[in-house]
Amino acid sequence: MKGLFDPSILEGVEMLRILGPEGTMEEELRAPELTDQRIQELYREMVFLRLADQRALNLQRQGRMGTYAPFMGQEAAQVGSAVALGEDDWIFPSFREGAAMYMRGAPMGSIFAYWMGNEAGQRFPEGVRVMPISIPVGTHPLHAVGFALAAKMRKEPICTVSYFGDGGTSKGDFHEAMNMAGVLCAPTIFFCQNNQYAISVPRKIQTASRTIAQKALAYGFPGIQVDGNDLVAVYVATRLARERAISGQGPTLIEAVTYRLGPHTTADDPTRYRSQEEVEAWLPLDPLLRVRKYLEKCCMWDQEMEESVHAFAEEKVNRVVQEAEEFPQPAPEDIFHYTLEKMPPRLEAQLEDYLAFLKEQED
């Protein structure tokens, strides 16, 4: 019918995949700068990240860390996108982006300290172009759009990336951010890790559209659906989106199709809402596995290397934990000092009164 936009129009579009689960590479789609060497380096990082993630879960069980949101299974999506960016680009993470944040320079010890309940862990060193974690789902892409717009106004060739989940796409603020980015032609990338769940809510209850990528069409710019467990495809898609951003062509939405192998957070019991079979069906698609298979095929990896990289990574994780646990214990004053640049008299009085109370308690 004339005038009809029917979802069936979009049925033909298939997910981009370059590095298959069996370690086979579609060479013609691969980015030249992503050499085997580089892939090997990134594999090492992914191993470290997986171990760090698992350690965080353990620390939580031991009562040494608070609630933690693990990213196991999503390493390719995060690492692939993070390393595709330019040095001066900024990322706007939500709570499950430890891997991306680390790859962009945020110290893992800081990230751990934050999850241990210390705000100071969110103050990354100057020069690290990573925003603090945003907990309210779907609300921070707006900041990435505004930030990108300021850069565009000053003609700085950078872009911003906001990371969010499939659940995040349901929020009103996601829509407002996408729409504004389209209108303002902002140099920004919306990076959705569709890990199939928002806590217990499966992707199909989150939205009725076949893909998340196609949501970009509502805003007049392109969306790309990519195998999120494929380091290379994620890299290539992000690179393309960045090219568009930097060259004034505006925003791109990337849907990285992946799977959260672990619980939503340490407070979650996924057996309540998904079957073991479902999880097992995703295991062969593990993002680390296929990189290792590829490297093995190239004769750039073997069991020995695997063991040594694990040992090395374990060591590094130990240092991360130490660093996090050696973060100075924050003082009660810290609650007050960052509310406004200069503490107003009333707040100062509250602080003084509270310190007096603490003093009395000691006595």
Partner: protein, 325 residues
């Protein structure tokens, strides 16, 4: 009849009402299959199916806006907002529509719905999981605001809320979800909205609290008793409409008042309570009403949180201040 904690009492209240009234339903993030991240809706989807115990997309404004539409068409929805910190996106629908549809339609339509929200700190949670936003809600005309402090009250007040012809915001002190167990009847019963509960009688100072702070205030009152200060403790239970006569007549007797809340002090509900006390009992007041509250800052994360939330010690100190003014 059995001993239940507060989450169980709430679940029991939902179960009872859904059994009695086919128009009652629950909706929200993870309330269906999962039974709620705190298990308050556990077993409802098994029993009543995925429509009456409905998992929704992640969208707080949408959830409460949808609830309004359902309520306008004969349902009695009980929406859940997963954590207090995710209330603000729902405020526009609450303030601009839910609270106004009755007056906008000059009485043709009402919004008989409930919004449940686990609120408050003390569980070492990440940012946005420890907020107490009662003042904003109480400032909004056209809604009722309920804050239970015990399992028994939670169930009875929840059932009253569901049966109420007007929208009720039902704030649950997540910190004590599992801290107290008490006898809770299995069947449906109501606790009236709008009546405070006298927790403890005393002649020296009136302590006013609600939700999770009732327990802290009770501890403080016990400590005070050992110093010879007899505190009268009121659990407000409903914040809007507020049973102000309960605390006003108490203060007329004691001459002193301490009000406790987790929210930031400035423009918190403590201010309203202090304002009403001085309006109606100034001649009996022997000391200023003292407020023991969160600071005018964001709630800190785990490592500093205990400084922020009023403790029995801080409440005791406030009572001493009131006594020695």
């Amino acid at each position: 009849m059995g001993k239940l904690n507060m989450v169980q009492a709430i679940q029991s209240g939902l179960m009872a009402e859904m059994q009695l009234d086919p128009t009652v339903m629950v909706l929200g993030e993870d309330v269906g299959r999962e039974g709620g991240v705190f298990r308050a809706t556990e077993g409802l989807q098994e029993k009543f199916g995925p429509e009456r115990a409905m998992d929704t997309p992640l969208a707080e404004s949408g959830i409460v806006g949808l609830a309004l539409g359902l309520a306008l068409n004969g349902m009695r929805p009980v929406a859940e907002i997963q954590f207090d910190g995710f209330m603000p996106p729902a405020w526009d629908q609450i303030i601009s529509h839910i609270s106004r549809i009755r007056t906008r339609s000059r009485g043709r339509f009402g919004a008989p719905l409930v919004i449940r929200i686990p609120y408050g700190g003390g569980i070492h949670a990440p940012e946005h999981h420890s907020e107490a936003t009662e003042a904003v809600l109480v400032h909004t005309p056209g809604i009722k605001v309920v804050y239970p402090a015990t399992p028994y009250d939670a169930k009875g007040l929840l059932i009253s809320a569901i049966r109420d012809p007007d929208p009720v915001l039902f704030l649950e002190p997540k910190r004590i979800y599992r801290a107290i167990r008490e006898e809770v009847p299995e069947e449906a019963y109501t606790v009236p909205i709008g009546e405070a509960r006298l927790v403890r009688e005393g002649k020296d100072v009136t302590l006013i609290a609600w939700g999770a702070m009732v327990r802290e205030a009770e501890r403080a009152a016990q400590m005070a008793a050992q110093e010879g200060i007899q505190a009268e403790l009121l659990d407000l239970r409903t914040l809007s409409p507020m049973d102000d006569q309960a605390f006003i007549s108490s203060v007329r007797k004691t001459g002193r008042a301490v009000v406790v809340h987790e929210a930031p002090r400035t423009c918190g509900l403590g201010a309203e309570i202090a304002a009403r006390i001085q309006e109606e009992a100034i001649l009996q007041l022997q000391a200023p009403v003292v407020r023991v509250t969160g600071f005018d800052t964001v709630v800190p994360l785990a490592k500093l949180e205990h400084h922020y939330i009023p403790s029995p010690e801080r409440i005791l100190r406030a009572m001493r201040q009131a006594m020695s003014f």
